[in-house]
């Protein structure tokens, strides 16, 4: 069952972010929410994930879902090794061989040799890779991503997006990816929702038809699409 938001109202103090807002999140696809900073994208993820209550309206299909979350910052415990960090979220989960699972996902993100390192010994990009490995090793059906690439330099960012797609193609879960960066949206997003300033409305919604090869900054199609979206955003 897909997740659908029905007639959501949400305000912070006097500031209305959502008023009678509805949207559908398709199953097993990467939905990308693209919008200006401060338009309440993070609040939307938090409401879907159940850590922020909406004022009115309902979110259907979310209760029975299990969520992974890739945050803006890695959110790793500095006092635990990478392996133990992953092990912590698997504690309550019915998984036969946790170590094997951890090893597998660390290998996919290219960190198999760092299992016994502490987060403080890794770079920002590596830590965000660990967060991705944590999200996929956790038996969730939905992955929520809150601008996890924003603090990385462009080369690392492209690398990490490729890694993410590689994993996701083998293990298709519902993904809600929030960003204000058009490049990120076009590379990762399948269904792209362009949000307005609050109170939020969906200004534009389309299915991303760019092929893997088209997804680079030198490609004409990519470039044209990017410009048309920037126009919509403004």
């Amino acid at each position: 069952m897909s997740i659908s938001l029905r007639h959501i109202d949400k305000a912070f103090n006097q500031m209305v972010i959502y008023r009678d807002f509805s949207m559908n999140i398709p199953d097993k696809r990467i939905s990308c929410i693209l919008g200006p900073s401060g338009c309440g994208k993070t609040s939307l993820l938090n409401m879907i994930g159940g850590i922020l209550p909406q004022d009115h309206g309902s979110i259907e299909g979310a209760k029975e879902k299990q969520f992974s979350f890739i945050f803006h910052e890695p959110r790793l415990l500095p006092w635990k090794s990478i392996r133990k960090n992953l092990e912590l979220v698997l504690d309550n989960q019915p998984i036969a061989n946790k170590n094997q699972l951890i090893d597998r996902y660390l290998r996919v993100v290219g960190l198999e040799h760092f299992a016994d390192y502490y987060p403080g010994q890794l770079s920002g990009g590596m830590k965000q890779r660990v967060a991705i490995a944590r999200a996929f090793s956790y038996p969730s059906d939905t992955i929520l991503m809150d601008e996890p690439l924003q603090t990385l330099d462009p080369r690392l960012k492209w690398n990490l997006m490729k890694t993410f797609l590689k994993i996701w193609n083998k293990d298709k879960r519902t993904v809600v990816f929030v960003t204000h960066d058009v490049d990120e949206a076009l590379v990762l997003g399948e269904e792209i929702f362009v949000f307005s300033q609050p109170p939020v409305q969906i200004k534009h919604q389309f299915t991303n038809t760019l092929s893997e090869q088209d997804k680079n900054n030198e490609n004409q199609k990519f470039f044209d699409l990017k410009n048309s979206i920037i126009n919509i955003l403004d």
Partner: protein, 254 residues
């Protein structure tokens, strides 16, 4: 953290030599053993203390008081400090009390304690009042400083509460606990000995320091002081050792 290179170790040695040298020169200038004995004579007196029949008993009496005071302060601090860390109103309520305790001169507390308690209890009472505020404040600060984002992460990933306590709260506040314990111990030993000097329990470093002072045995007073310093130093080292062992991750920061 405190990782002293061999170069710094040289300076440490130099500092000790400087202290001893100054002491030696001062004793030579004064020229009277009765007023200020030379370091080597004091070393002899320390040696004599070891041979004294009741030495172990005296020192262990002080240690037991210290540990008892510490245990009670620690327990109280865990309860009240955790509460203050979680609840802002209780923090606001506790703050003036802690400040008052910390600002009260130790000697006033002792004078009052002498009226209120048995002599044996006075140093323990003093130890509790001296150590408790340090540990309590640090535990509260530790909890207040804990990154709420980590807790949110754990909640989303449905980490069981017992593991959130054991694997996020506890390690998160341990550096604060250690620094609290370390300062508490430093002040605690001094307070206990002052307490013993004034309350005169049967055994205790302070008691014997006071006895020596009464008979103007300066070398003995200094010898007991050396014992007190060594005691405090050993406990400090012990705490550092435990800290180093349990906070391995701290030493893995770039």
């Amino acid at each position: 953290m405190k990782i002293s290179s061999s170069k710094n170790r040289g300076y440490t040695l130099l500092s000790i030599l400087f202290l001893l040298g100054t002491w030696k020169v001062a004793s030579m200038l004064i020229g009277s053993e009765l007023i200020l004995p030379a370091p080597e004579q004091t070393a002899l007196s320390v040696g004599e203390l070891f041979l004294e029949q009741d030495f172990i008993r005296i020192v262990s009496a002080t240690i037991v008081r210290g540990l008892l005071g510490f245990a009670i302060s620690f327990l109280l601090a865990i309860i009240l400090g955790t509460w203050a860390g979680i609840s802002a109103p209780f923090h606001a309520f506790l703050q003036p009390i802690l400040v008052t305790i910390r600002s009260t001169p130790v000697i006033s507390l002792i004078l009052l304690a002498l009226i209120w308690f048995d002599v044996g209890q006075v140093p323990v009472f003093i130890a509790i009042l001296t150590m408790f505020p340090f540990i309590c404040t640090n535990i509260a600060e530790g909890i207040r400083n804990l990154d709420p984002k980590l807790i949110v992460m754990a909640r989303i990933y449905r980490v069981p509460t017992r593991r959130i306590l054991k694997d996020i709260y506890l390690p998160g506040i341990s550096p604060f606990i250690f620094s609290g314990v370390s300062s508490a111990m430093g002040f605690g030993w001094r307070a206990i000995i002052i307490g013993e000097v004034l309350s005169q329990p049967q055994y205790g470093i302070g008691t014997f320091m006071q006895n020596a002072q009464t008979y103007l045995l300066v070398d003995k007073v200094i010898a007991w002081t050396v014992i007190a310093i060594v005691l405090s130093y050993l406990f400090d080292q012990l705490i550092q050792l435990i800290e180093k062992y349990s906070l391995t991750w701290k030493y893995h920061q770039p």
